[in-house]
């Protein structure tokens, strides 16, 4: 279990052709950092682990921000660990694009 390094996993995503486009997209985001904004104004940042048809999202090593994490006013995040966000509480989902990050 321990050798399941996220780096490896990101690239050996199942590329078999019978998977629908949406599934492939979702699969490509697995193990990436996601930032999820919730209906009550909190933002969670964590590793995308799982989702289903109702858009429930499970994030690993999840951290909770009460203020907008963009303005880095030094708000200490609260560590939640493994957290599930119910689909109907999700306002916005962003992912951490590391491939397009060569701009510096």
């Amino acid at each position: 279990m321990a050798e399941g390094k996220p780096e490896n996993m990101r690239f050996d995503a199942d590329t078999s052709t019978q998977e629908s486009e949406g599934r492939q997209k979702l699969r490509s985001w697995l193990n990436m950092s996601l930032r999820v904004s919730m209906t009550d104004g909190r933002t969670l940042i964590g590793v995308f682990l799982c989702t289903d048809r109702d858009k429930n999202v499970i994030l690993g090593s999840c951290q909770e921000y009460i203020q907008d994490p963009d303005d880095t006013s030094g708000e200490d995040p609260r560590v939640l660990g493994l957290a599930m966000v119910p689909g109907h509480h999700i306002l916005k989902i962003e992912y951490d694009d590391i491939t397009a990050n060569q701009i510096m």
């Binding site: 321990a2 399941g4 599934r23 997209k25 985001w29 209906t39 939640l80 694009d97």
Partner: protein, 739 residues
């Protein structure tokens, strides 16, 4: 869980933006640069493609791992969501000082009274098993008393911290709590460790004197007209003074209890009585304190918190929210001020009772005291203090008498084994002495554990009683060996005297008591279904009480044998020994044991009648059967050799009625039950010391006697509805009610 760990491994460092290597020096917060891209729509539409119940996940993350995720926005799991309702900002002490939302000086009397009362309320809530962070430390003043300029507030803050520290230490020392009783986590808060106890009580007393002057100056003087303002001021000062003094006395009492060798108990008791008197004043003056202002910022306040927590100046219920683990229990409801005062009243009474223990000398009486005290399900603090006072210091009773010697005394008083009686051969023989000492040393651990068990809460007690039987089983083995060895030594010198089963009888006595207690506690804790009553009462009636009674009579016989021997040795002084015999404690125990045995017999016979009458029905088990239940109920008894576990087959034989001809009728059993209850009633009625317990049991026996008699007379005979077992009168022995 494994997966969670591996996920934790892929912390933000690993997912960091590649071109910027992490700055190694920065330990506090590794700079993480993200490049966020909005995928909301994409994500949501992609999800639509999944089938119902289909999960999109990695190979090493499955439904099992998903189960342990906390659910956001679920009020029970998501502690963080509460803080977000409304726009109220959560300020810590420093921030609150900067924004001037808390006063550091010149607090008014109503403010002080309100703060003290709320502190006491939160302290009670803590004592009831909630975390310090959510109770006592919601008071910002306690975070750093050094910053407080107001002398009164500062003294109280330090006093409360000291109290918390002392309570926590005592509870820890006694270690008779479980997670449901008490939270010891202090979350790194300082508990006024840099100030001595004497200094704190001194400070409290100084402030008290100061207030006392104000009380005097505003007091009604003869022939003087007073304006209502002065009168109010006077009352407020009286209220405040009472609170200050209460804190001081409670603190001093706890300090006194912690003096070595119980030397402070008398002082402590006196202080408790004084504190109790002040509580009366405090209860009457609650209204003088500042109360939460519910109209201040309507809509902005969080309604959720308002109904759970009284927010007044200096308190912030959410200030420690971040210290709590993610799934920590939602919101702690702080107990009301009146209720808190009531709690303290109860606490003082319980502590007063605890003080009595130091007047007891023998281990057996201490054990009885513990059992009796525990029956009222006392709070964790009183339970702990009882332990601390009586036994907890390095296995010495009351901090003076070594536990082993106390046990030696207990056995001697129980049945006078020759080995413990001076002038007998085995008493002086060094070899025999060695055996006895070794045995008593072995007994120290199980018996101090036994005492400790009775400090636990009722539900845990049952569990632990079941386990200690294993320890006692091996002690029993040991006792038999010692008895045999001593016997063979003795028989050589003095063929008339025996040393058989002396220590064995003593251990057996305790084992039987524990077994009975174990079964009875199941009734108290409402563990048994009504269809299980039959074998529980049968086991008690036919075996355990029978064994206990014969063990006690054997001890009595041994004692008499010893007496006769002593007489023979001395030749005269007959009078003295006769006098002794009368007040022997076992005889009282035998009588009470007989009464309880009869009660159990009554229930057992009655259930048998009910089964025949089809008032009680055995459930049709689909996935288990009665044997499984039976064996489970008596499982802890299996570790004991004497008395042996009675197998299920024996119970079946006993209740199988086919072998009787003519077949038995329900009435036959009701007659027997009637007799049993009557016997119990008679014993209780003629019992010399009519304690409350005896009176209650007498009432139970009497009522049951009448009920079964009515049943015999045909009352409600046709009804097939099951009888009700009413535990309101007594929590182990029910009153049977026909419906």
């Amino acid at each position: 869980m494994i997966c969670v760990a591996s996920v934790e491994g892929s912390s933000p460092e690993n997912l960091e933006v590649v071109p910027t290597p992490p700055p190694v020096v920065q330990h506090t917060q590794p700079e993480v640069r993200y490049n966020w891209k909005d995928i909301t729509q994409d994500f949501l539409t992609s999800c639509e493609e999944l089938e119902l119940g289909e999960l999109m996940h990695d190979a090493n993350f499955g439904l099992f791992e998903a189960m342990s995720a906390i659910e956001m926005m679920d009020p029970k799991m998501d502690a963080g969501m509460l803080g977000n309702r409304g726009d109220r900002e959560v300020l810590n002490f420093q921030q609150a000082i900067q924004r001037e939302t808390v006063k550091l000086k010149d607090l008014t009397a109503p403010e002080l009274i309100g703060i003290i009362d709320t502190m006491l309320s939160s302290m009670v809530t803590w004592l009831e098993g909630h975390s310090l962070a959510q109770t006592v430390f919601t008071c910002l003043y306690l975070h750093d008393p050094e910053l407080i300029e107001d002398r009164c507030m500062r003294a109280v803050a330090l006093g409360v911290l000291k109290l918390v520290d002392l309570i926590k230490n005592n509870v820890n020392r006694a270690s008779v709590f479980e997670e449901e009783d008490f939270q010891t986590m202090t979350y790194g808060f300082k508990l006024a460790g840099n100030v001595t106890d004497v200094r704190v009580t001194g400070m409290l007393r100084e402030v008290e004197d100061e207030i006392n002057r104000k009380v005097k100056s505003t007091r009604c003087k003869q022939g003087e007209e007073r304006d209502p303002q002065t009168e109010l001021e006077h009352q407020q000062n009286v209220a405040l003074q009472a609170r200050m003094k209460f804190c001081r006395l409670l603190l001093m009492a706890l300090i006194a209890f912690n003096k070595p060798q119980c030397s402070g108990v008398t002082d402590g008791k006196r202080l408790l009585i004084q504190a109790g008197e002040l509580l009366e004043v405090m209860k009457k003056t609650i209204h003088h304190g500042a109360h939460p202002d519910e109209t201040a910022t309507p809509g902005k306040m969080i309604p959720y918190i308002l109904c759970y927590f009284p927010i007044i100046m200096g308190f912030e219920p959410l200030v420690n929210q971040r210290l709590l683990p993610p799934t920590f229990p939602r919101y702690t409801k702080i107990i009301g001020r009146e209720a808190a005062m009531e709690y303290f009243q109860g606490l003082l009474n319980r502590l007063g009772q605890v003080c009595e223990v130091v007047n007891i000398i023998s281990i057996h009486t201490i054990l009885d005291f513990f059992i009796e005290f525990s029956k009222a399900s006392p709070c964790v603090l009183s339970r702990s203090l009882l332990q601390v006072l009586a036994v907890s210091t390095d296995r010495k009773v009351f901090g003076t008498l070594p536990f082993r010697e106390a046990l030696r005394e207990a056995v001697r008083a129980f049945n006078y084994p020759p080995a413990l009686v001076p002038r007998s051969y085995v008493f002086n023989n060094p070899q025999a002495k060695e055996y006895v000492d070794a045995f008593l040393s072995r007994a120290v651990r199980p018996f101090s554990n036994l005492l400790q068990i009775h400090g636990h809460n009722r539900a845990r007690q049952r569990d632990k009683l079941g386990h200690i039987l294993e320890d006692l089983s091996s002690l029993q083995d040991e006792a038999d060996k010692v008895d045999a060895a001593l016997h063979s030594m003795m028989i050589k010198v003095d063929p008339q005297r025996q040393h058989l089963a002396c220590f064995g009888t003593w251990v057996l006595y305790h084992i039987l008591r524990i077994m009975i207690q174990y079964l009875l506690s199941g009734l108290e804790l409402e563990l048994y279904s009504t269809h299980e009553y039959q074998y529980v009462f049968w086991y008690l009636y036919e075996f355990l009480y029978g064994w206990l009674l014969s063990t006690l009579s054997r001890a009595e016989a041994m004692y008499q044998e010893h007496d006769a021997y002593m007489e023979q040795q001395k030749g005269g002084s007959k009078k003295k020994s006769k006098k002794k015999k009368k007040g022997r404690p076992p005889s009282k125990e035998i009588v009470l044991g007989q009464a309880e045995q009869s009660l159990c017999g009554g229930y057992y016979k009655a259930t048998q009648g009910f089964y025949l009458d089809e008032r009680l029905k055995k459930p049709v088990f689909e996935f288990d059967n009665e044997q499984v239940r039976y064996e489970h109920r008596f499982a802890p008894f299996a570790s004991i050799v004497t008395p042996p576990l009675v197998p299920y087959s024996q119970f079946q034989d006993m209740v199988a009625l086919e072998k009787f001809s003519p077949p038995l009728q329900p009435a036959d059993f009701y007659v027997q039950a009637c007799k049993c209850f009557q016997q119990a009633k008679n014993i209780y009625e003629s019992f010399p010391s009519q304690t409350k317990e005896v009176q209650t049991l007498c009432k139970v026996a009497k009522t049951n006697f009448v009920v079964v008699k009515l049943l015999l007379g045909g009352h409600k005979r046709e009804s097939k509805s099951p009888p009700e077992w009413d535990f309101t009168e007594h929590n182990t022995f029910p009153i049977i009610r026909l419906t």
